[in-house]
Every structure is written in structure tokens, then in C-alpha cells.
Amino acid sequence: MEDMSQYPLELNGDDVPMVRFMNVSKRYGDLTVLDALNLDIQQSEMVTVIGPSGSGKTTVLRMLMTLEKINEGVIYVDGKPLTHMEKNGVLVPASDSYIRSVKGDIGMCFQHFNLFPHMTALQNCIEAPIHVLKMNKKEAIERAEDMLEMVGLADKKDQHPIRLSGGQQQRVAIARALCMRPKVMLLDEVTSALDPEVIGEVTNVIKKLVAEHNLTMLMVTHQMGFARDISDRVCFFFDGKIEEQGTPTALFDNPQRERTQQFLSAVKSAD
């Protein structure tokens, strides 16, 4: 059994990170996918995760979205524990209702968009604000229209996903997530399923988000150029651990670790 007393009930102080992974491990049976991960993401920071396939990048995001349960450690969001809750002065695994009360701060976009196919773009965007945040419909529509405008799809609001291109669908998905006013946005390879010619329209939206919104972002991508352009920090994952991290310039131009160098040169020669 893990000694839970090592974990604070909440994070206090001046520089509480927006997200903290503390000793987080994830296993599937015998396979350790993440091994005692420690990672802090500051308020408004844009952190990009890169690394070879199977290194655990998606798993990190899914754990933060609580789509995966963790085996050890604690994740904190905005100072509050997410995966755990306080009971009699120690942290115990969180109940579903507790998790729901905290994870509202987190939004996520997926590789395959996952728009609701039976709803129009606008309906996709107002569904959760109305039914989860209990926003009134008029307000929700206004907000959704603003967000669709922001991603450049104001004119497509009444289209169903099937009539949108992949790039448009992904932009709707971003707008949909933003309508919930998350503090943290998770983006898992949001351009990987797209045709090369529409990747730009999605990356431009993300750049705009970074520039104009006060969001904390954690993004997995295979596009090194894009990662370099917009990240505050890049984490290179290898085998369930952060092998190396740093500013884009430091990591891309002057990688210290051999595995990072190998990975980057392999990616470069593939381009």
C-alpha cells in the first residue's frame, strides 16, 4: 500500500501549478506505462509532449481527463486533488461525484474529433453548457457562436459533422471544449487524422488560442515545427518517463540526452 501521508491535501502558496502530477504511475497488468511521473504545468503555460509511439503520451492526457484511473500518486488541478479526495485528514481515491466537481476545469480534444454526429455544430457546442453548466439557452448560444466565430466556422454552425471536413470538425471540437470554459485544455494529436492541407487551419486556431486566451495547455503532437513555434516547454517522453524537457530552443537545438537526439534526428529524416 502506498503511503498517502506524503501527499498534501491541497497545494498552497504563491506559485501553485495549474496541474501537478505527483509520483503518478499507470500500469496495465504487468506493463508499466508511466513510472512515477512528476510534472508541473503552470497557469497559462503551453506544454507540449513529444516522444515515440507507445511512450505514454496519450496516457498522460487521459489520466488528467480521468479517462484512465491511476495506480499510484496524485494529480492536482488548480491546487485541488483530482484523483483523490480528503477523508479524515488523508487522501483517499476520489468518488465519481468528487471527480466531476473538479474535472470541469479540464477540457479535451481528441485525435478523431468525436463530435456528436446527430447534432449540428452549434448543438454540439451548447449541449454541455446547457445541461452541465445549466447556462440558459440564449447565453449558451451566444457563447457557442463566439467560439465558432473564433475558429472561423460561424457560417457552418447549422451543419452536421458529416457535412464538415476533418479540419472543420476538429475546429468545432475545439470550440465545443472552449464553450465549457476550461482552465486546462488537453489536445491529443489533434492534427494526426487530418489531410496535410487542412492541418494549418487547426494549428492556426491553436496558435490563436495560445495568443489570445489565458489557457493552460497540454498538447501531444508529432509536428515538431508546430511544437517549437508555440510551446513554452517541450517534454520528451520515452518509455513512460520524461527523458528530457526544456524550452523549445533548448530541446530541439541542443538536446542533451542521447535518446532525445536519436528521436529528433529520426523525426527529421522522416520529414
Partner: protein, 269 residues
């Protein structure tokens, strides 16, 4: 048939609003008048010498029977859809209790035969203080039976909705109920429709048993006509065709139309 009066009570009439009832009765009498007009020249004697005479003599009964069969089928569909939805969703509940109840219902009604269930509901339930007229007993039995098969269809369809839909709804912080109600179930409906088309035809066939507890459906009427006329080929040939026509002209096209309507925004045209 002395008891016939009390059997002809039509819940459909009581449930539905006036206009619908008048349209319904209008159609029924229109079909009878049409039949009468077509057969106006036909002599009806004591014996049945040819098919036209057969129709002239028993046409009204067949029409009555067909409409009772339609009513039974329609009411059974309502019961089946409600049961299938409740227990199909129950099968994927996170609560072990709800899952067990649903499994029990499904297992029971799929594991025993419709005719036995029909007799239980009509002959055995009275011993437990539940007395049902033949008419409601009939469609309830058929509805409960097909509802169990339907529940498995509903469960299968829910599980066939891509996992990404659940994940997206979860990431938007929707509660389990909201996810089911607004995201998963509406998509499952589209997936399950073709299977329901088959189930409803099964259900229609199942209603042929309600005559055994003396609901005056098509099967019941045909057995009466047969015992009066001994015209086996005419009698059972006609109802065969009527059952087939109900299935192919009413059920199949309705389901197709529903499928087209519900999937019109899901498929590129």
C-alpha cells in the same frame, strides 16, 4: 359467441383521441364497403363454392380480425419498445442490482415460450390477484416477450456506439444519465433500427397466439371461419396473405422511412 361483446373492448379507442379513432374506424368501414362493392354481384348461399363467395360471406370477419391483429401488434409494440428501452439500458447500468433485474427479465422472457407466458398472464396471474381481460393480456404478453428480445438489441446497439462518443461526453463533464439520454441512446437508436424491423415482424407473428385466449384476432377469426366452412385453403391462404401484407406493406416500409429519417444527417447524401 356470448362473450364476444365484452371481448371487443378496444383500449385503442379509449387511449387514443377522438379524431384518430374516427379515422381508424373510417378506414375499417371503408375497406368493408369496398369489399362489399367489389363483391356486390356475388350470390351468398349456404355453401361456399368459390373464393368470391367465401370472401362475400366471411370478408367482414377477416377485416375485423385483421384490425384486431393490427391493434394488438401496435399496442404490443408500445409495450415492447418501453420494456426494451428500460431493460436494455438497465443491462449496461453500473448498478449490479439494476443489471441483475434486467438480465432476469431478459432471460425469463427469452428462455420460455410466448404461448406459456400468454397462458401465465391470462390464467395464472388471477391467482395472484391480477385479473386481465383477454385483450390487454394478449398484447401485454406479446409485448413483454418481444421486449426481452428488444432489450438485447438495445444493449447491443448501445455498446456499438463508438467509445469516442462516451469519451467526448465524459470530457464535457456530462453525468452518466445525460450521456446516455442525449449522446449514446440517440445514436444507438439509429444502429438498432434494422434489427427492430425484424423484431416487429416477429412480434406480428407472435400476435397470432392471442386468439388462444380468445382475443378475436385474425387467427381466431380464421379458425371460426374454418369450423363454419371447412374451406381450409381459402381461409388459411387468405390470412397468410394478410399477415404477409401487414408485414411487408406496413411494418417494413415504416421502418425504412424511420431509418431514412433518423440517419439523414448521419450519412453523406
Amino acid at each position: 359467441m356470448g362473450s364476444k361483446k365484452s371481448l371487443s373492448l378496444k383500449p385503442l379507442k379509449r387511449i387514443a383521441m377522438g379524431p384518430i379513432v374516427s379515422i381508424y374506424e373510417g378506414i375499417q368501414s371503408a375497406i368493408k364497403s369496398l369489399l362489399a362493392a367489389l363483391l356486390s354481384g356475388v350470390e351468398v348461399s349456404g355453401r361456399v363454392d368459390n373464393y368470391l363467395e367465401f370472401l362475400a360471406k366471411f370478408g367482414d370477419r377477416l377485416v375485423d380480425g385483421a384490425f384486431i391483429t393490427l391493434e394488438q401488434a401496435l399496442l404490443a409494440i408500445i409495450v415492447a419498445v418501453i420494456m426494451a428501452t428500460i431493460f436494455g439500458v438497465g443491462r449496461v447500468s453500473t448498478s449490479l442490482l439494476i443489471r441483475s433485474i434486467s438480465t432476469t427479465y431478459i432471460e425469463f422472457f427469452r428462455g420460455t415460450s410466448l404461448i406459456v407466458q400468454l397462458f401465465w398472464i391470462f390464467y395464472v396471474l388471477p391467482f395472484f390477484g391480477v385479473v386481465l381481460d383477454p385483450y390487454p393480456a394478449g398484447f401485454i404478453a406479446v409485448g413483454l416477450n418481444l421486449g426481452a428480445y428488444g432489450a438485447e438489441v438495445v444493449r447491443g446497439a448501445i455498446q456499438a456506439v463508438p467509445r469516442g462518443q462516451y469519451e467526448a461526453a465524459y470530457a464535457l463533464n456530462m453525468s452518466a444519465r445525460l450521456r446516455m439520454r442525449r449522446i449514446i441512446f440517440p445514436q444507438a437508436v439509429v444502429i438498432m433500427l434494422p434489427a427492430w424491423g425484424n423484431l416487429l415482424i416477429e412480434l406480428l407473428k407472435g400476435t397470432a397466439l392471442v386468439g388462444l385466449i380468445s382475443v378475436t384476432d385474425l387467427m381466431f377469426q380464421s379458425r371460426q371461419i374454418y369450423s363454419l366452412s371447412y374451406a381450409a385453403i381459402e381461409t388459411f391462404g387468405t390470412i397468410l396473405i394478410i399477415y404477409y401484407l401487414i408485414a411487408r406493406l406496413l411494418i417494413t416500409p415504416s421502418m425504412r422511412a424511420l431509418e431514412t429519417r433518423l440517419s439523414r444527417n448521419l450519412k453523406r447524401s
